[in-house]
């Protein structure tokens, strides 16, 4: 996993609630057996006016000029801001894969769906929960100033706007440690393999039918 420490990134505003993972990456792309290559198909049905198919070359596909990702001022954005319940629906990890593959490293929203929220951390993508008031302020400032960037500091757990306004965000120490160092969680868990084996033996003795 890519480590995440600090980022000063261009912001792209996606002004919608309940952005679901079907919208983030439509089902036809889930047929891939790889983890990479989903970026060109991120928000496929909103982004293009024709039907996307896996393996397609997207460079010449007709784009929807009204969709925010297609607007020249947001090219190269690394921070996505959105409204409540971002990432709801299907558990498909293809959603964070697509967002990360496109080039985003941070998503800021008032709330995230649970499964999507845990999936992001496994892929070096940082989800930040901010109050609806703060998110609203970011939307307004972003609309008002082209080239609007945010400074995201994971070590300090802060987000700072160009005007110097700053807010703190929460992250568990375990997730922070993994992200800062780009650690493989499986490796960390296997350090406790003996404890897992001991638990398993006890569990099997109490409920042998679980192991039948």
């Amino acid at each position: 996993m890519k480590a995440f420490t600090r980022l000063n990134g261009l912001v792209c505003p996606l002004d919608r609630t309940n952005v679901d993972t079907d919208a983030i990456i439509p089902k036809q792309f889930l047929k891939s057996i790889k983890r990479s290559g989903f970026g060109p198909f991120l928000f496929d049905e909103w982004r293009y006016t024709n039907y996307g198919e896996p393996g397609m070359d997207c460079t010449n596909r007709p784009k929807n000029p009204d969709f925010v990702l297609n607007q020249p001022r947001y090219q190269g954005a690394q921070v996505l801001i959105a409204r409540d319940n971002f990432g709801c629906g299907s558990s498909r990890e293809h959603a964070p894969w697509a967002i990360e593959d496109y080039g985003f490293r941070v998503i800021i929203a008032p709330s995230f769906a649970d499964i999507f929220f845990s999936n992001t951390y496994k892929n070096g993508l940082l989800p930040i929960v901010a109050s609806a008031e703060i998110v609203d302020r970011l939307f307004k400032e972003c609309a008002a100033s082209e080239g609007y960037k945010l400074d995201v500091d994971l070590e300090a757990q802060t987000v700072t706007t160009p005007s110097g306004f700053s807010f703190k965000f929460d992250i568990t120490p375990h997730r922070k440690h993994c992200m800062l160092n780009g650690l493989d969680e499986i490796g960390l868990t296997l350090v406790h393999a003996e404890e897992i084996k001991a638990f398993e033996a006890k569990h099997k003795a109490a409920q042998p039918w679980l192991f039948a």
Binding site: K31, E45, S90, E93, N119, I186, T189
Partner: protein
């Protein structure tokens, strides 16, 4: 000290270790798998040179990509076929307790086949790279969806790194009215608490109306917990659960059975347990439901009218209603029963069990699908459901009415196979998500119960099942 919730009991009995910040390593008893979210996990395992910790915990089946007709032609889409072949190869390499490959007599939707084979048991932790894993909570199991990185983590370590959620109790007391089903209960709950109402919670469904549901109905309710934002929904095991499980292939046998049943009976919230949130919905207040928008929370009782955005004060909500009406091609204030449909889908992990097939067949028996309905699909959830339905003659009832009786699979719930809506087509669907494009790009989905979908097929528009 306050008593424990069912969630506390399930959680505590699976904690391998706990970090200072509350992060736990949770032991996983059952690992369910399908072809869409597992290939990258197996690939990760191979690349790291790791083994599967306990492959006998795995129950796997291809269901999302598999066609529901023309099985003699195999899987025609080469990309779909490659994904299904990859699952075959991975199970062959790593092993599983149960694997039903494509065209196996017992193949079906993972959330239908695990319970009917007795592979979902009370007291278990159950995971799957699929958000509708919440279904298995109907058995008093802690069951939830995970991402592919977590699938790999469970494969390699038999554990998950988790923080405990908060506990919510949703109580539905009283008698459900005629024509009101488990699906309506679940949709009414989502309508009340919203699609993010359960975020950060494990929901326990309780009350006499929930206890009165069959296991099929309980699975429908827990299946939709995720659409209320909760990773997991649970219902305490009781005599209905025990009766359902007895004699199933992977359920305990002999002395183990008695010991298991005695343990399962302890799996309920204590009378003095404390919940972080409690929601009460009187059963008598629930009417047959229809979604009108593009989120499951955009739902109303069948007698209602399509919302008018002009009456919504909150600008974010108003914009969301306007967007939904535009996508759905609906007029504000029109009656829900005036909405005409193009297609009907009876199936999915929400409503494809034998009871669902019976309920739909009872409505269409001796009638004909309306002329404006281009396609009506009845897709059983598994080979076992299909054979049972055929033994009861339900297939003939559906076919005589003008339905297509298909082979089992996820089908038009998410349209990864050939079963899908075309742009602008409107569907009465017993599935779980009415998101934009879910059933096909530009398709318009209305979520309803099997009986309501069947009644809409006959009328060509939505009707109140109580007057059908």
């Amino acid at each position: 000290m306050a008593g424990k919730t069912l969630y506390d009991k399930l959680w505590d009995s699976h904690v391998v270790r706990q970090e200072e910040d509350g992060t736990c390593l949770l032991y996983i008893d059952r690992h369910l798998m399908h072809e869409v979210t597992s290939p990258q996990a197996f690939e990760g395992l191979r690349l790291a040179g790791r083994k599967a910790w306990r492959s006998s915990s795995i129950v796997a089946v291809p269901d999302h990509n598999t066609p529901t007709n023309h099985w003699d032609r195999d899987i025609e889409d080469p990309i779909s076929k490659a994904q299904v072949d990859t699952l075959d190869a991975n199970i062959k390499e790593f092993g599983a307790l149960v694997y039903f490959p494509f065209k196996h007599a017992n193949q079906g939707i993972i959330h239908v086949i695990a319970p009917e084979n007795g592979a979902t048991l009370p007291g278990m932790t159950v995971v799957c790279g699929d958000s509708h894993t919440a279904t298995h909570g109907a058995f008093g199991a802690l069951a939830h969806g995970i991402g592919t990185s977590e699938v790999e983590h469970v494969l390699a370590t038999q554990t998950l790194v988790q923080k405990k959620s908060r506990a919510m109790l949703i109580k539905v007391e009283g008698q459900l009215g005629a024509g009101v089903t488990a699906k309506d209960v679940a949709l009414a709950i989502i309508g009340k608490i919203g699609t993010a109402g359960g975020t950060g919670y494990c929901i326990e469904f309780a009350g006499s109306a929930i206890r009165g549901l069959s296991m099929e109905g309980r699975m429908t309710v827990c299946n939709l917990a995720i659409e209320a934002g909760a990773r997991a929904g649970i219902i305490a095991a009781d005599d209905t659960t025990v009766a359902y499980l007895q004699g199933r292939t992977h359920a305990p046998k002999g002395a183990d059975w008695d010991k298991a049943v005695a343990y399962w009976k302890t799996l309920h919230s204590d009378a003095d347990a404390k919940f972080d949130a409690v929601v009460e919905i009187p059963a008598a207040s629930i009417e047959p439901q229809i979604t009108w928008g593009t989120s499951p929370e955009q739902v109303l009782a069948v007698g209602g009218t399509v919302p008018n955005p002009a009456k919504e004060a909150d600008p974010v909500k108003r914009a969301s209603i306007e967007r939904a009406l535009q996508y759905m091609g609906l007029q504000a204030d029109m009656k829900l029963t005036d909405i005409t449909i193009d297609k009907v889908f009876i199936g999915s992990c929400t409503n494809s069990r034998i009871e669902d097939m019976r309920a739909a067949a009872a409505v269409v028996k001796g009638k004909k699908v309306a002329a404006n309905v281009k396609l009506a699909l009845a897709v059983p959830g598994s080979g076992i459901v299909k054979r049972q339905a055929e033994a009861e003659g339900l297939d003939k009832i559906f076919i005589a009415a003008g339905f297509e009786w298909r082979e089992p699979g996820c089908s038009m719930c998410l349209a990864m196979n050939a079963d899908r809506l075309s742009a602008g087509e409107r569907c009465a669907s017993t599935s779980n998500r009415n998101f934009e494009g879910r059933q096909g790009p530009g398709g318009r989905t209305h979520l309803v119960s099997p009986a309501m979908a069947a009644a809409a097929a006959i009328a060509g528009h939505f009707v109140d099942i109580r007057q059908a």
